[in-house]
Symmetry: C2
Subunit: 243 residues, 2 copies
């Protein structure tokens, strides 16, 4: 029923999420950096402690939680004070995960706001706070989903080599687990595919406007320096918890 | 400050919205039709009268209203019972519109759910209701924005030919207004650009999977039979109201 959760289908899910992530980032980079929307309490009328993007993400997660989004094994929220689902919970008989899930969204938030936004967006402020925050929420949710798919990736790798991983996990040897899950040629393929897609999807926009310009290489860099390593961090932590 | 509202910039806004609309539609068509998510009351635990997509759109608009989205002259909601903005309202000194705004979102909703979804999505049900509804909300908001930009387009056309339009509006001659605002070569250009973009953005996806396939021509058809005529309908109604 839920093909997305099948180990055999993980590669397709990750490839398909590339479009979701690229489209979302391309929407975001049409706006400037707008640092004020990430500053806690900067819009105090709305939320005294949260940033504008944090407020929108939190409210969005509240709605999605009521619609049972976070009962799905491939969905993890950024906030932990969400309401219970209003819709009856679904049973995920096809959930292949064998451990308590890992949630690294705190890191996703920090990397996105502190590193990714300054890297991909033009500096300064264009006052498009609302549209910008909406784009941010889409980016954060898409990238978070991709990174947490590392658990499905790890489960697949574990099943192919259970004995080896059992030993490493028993020894709590995170370094060797990280080595064992690394497949450099596959990472290279991902980066090449992302480069090709970024060139394709940015071609029209980069040609048609002056002010709206992003180098495909910047998106490749996001994958190389953040999205891929963060996915691997989820893989390692999942395997350690799998025990 | 808000370049999006400048008459001289309308063409660029509409061109840029093509990416937003195409990316959103491409996210939606990865899921099947899922008719149950448009059926009023089908998820009664959540909302006894609203559909799942209607519920999510309504809740999303409530948040965006508090963030003052609908105080902007280029943003129109689908629901009319939204909360007041919590953030202090911005003054839009650069708002070029000279009439009470037109809101045709009731038609946008009907055309989207009854015509567009059956046209673009594969039939049947894949149980991905939540992801699907999230994609629907993005599509509805993007297409609604494009269609209601017709008011800015109409204002630009009016300013170039005020005397002619004053006469037609005085005579309440909707047919002749529709004729006067129609620029067939420009419509043809839009359709050709949409075709080129749809081919570009679907190239990778149509090549990489079997089950996920959409013809670029289907997106062109959406523009030709719905999005362009609906924009013109907004233009005519705006000019009649402009009085």
């Amino acid at each position: 029923m839920n093909k997305q959760l099948q180990i055999s289908n993980i590669r397709n899910v990750l490839i398909r999420l590339e479009e979701t992530i690229l489209f979302a980032l391309i929407e975001r980079v049409q706006f400037r950096r707008n640092p004020v929307i990430y500053a806690p309490g900067a819009f105090a009328d709305l939320d005294e402690t949260e940033s504008l993007v944090g407020y929108l993400l939190h409210e969005t997660e509240r709605i999605h939680a009521r619609m049972r989004r976070y009962t799905s094994p491939d969905e993890y929220p950024f906030f932990d004070d969400l309401p219970e689902p209003v819709l009856p919970e679904l049973r995920y008989d096809d959930n292949p995960l064998h451990a308590h899930p890992v949630n690294l969204n705190r890191n996703v938030w920090a990397s996105y706001t502190e590193d990714a936004i300054p890297l991909i967006c033009a500096p300064d402020d264009d006052h498009q706070y609302g549209s910008c925050a909406v784009a941010d929420v889409t980016c954060l949710q898409a990238i978070s989903k991709r990174i947490h798919y590392g658990m499905f990736v790890a489960e697949g790798k574990y099943r192919k080599n259970a004995t080896q991983f059992d030993q490493l996990v028993k020894a709590k040897d995170a370094g060797s687990i990280a080595e064992a899950i690394t497949d450099a040629p596959v990472e290279q393929q991902v980066l090449e595919r992302v480069r090709r897609k970024a060139e394709l999807y940015l071609q029209e926009l980069n040609a048609s406007t002056d002010e709206y310009h992003i180098e495909p290489e910047v998106i490749v860099k996001l994958y190389r320096t953040w999205i891929i390593p963060a996915t691997k961090e989820v893989e390692v932590q999942y395997l350690l918890k799998r025990g």
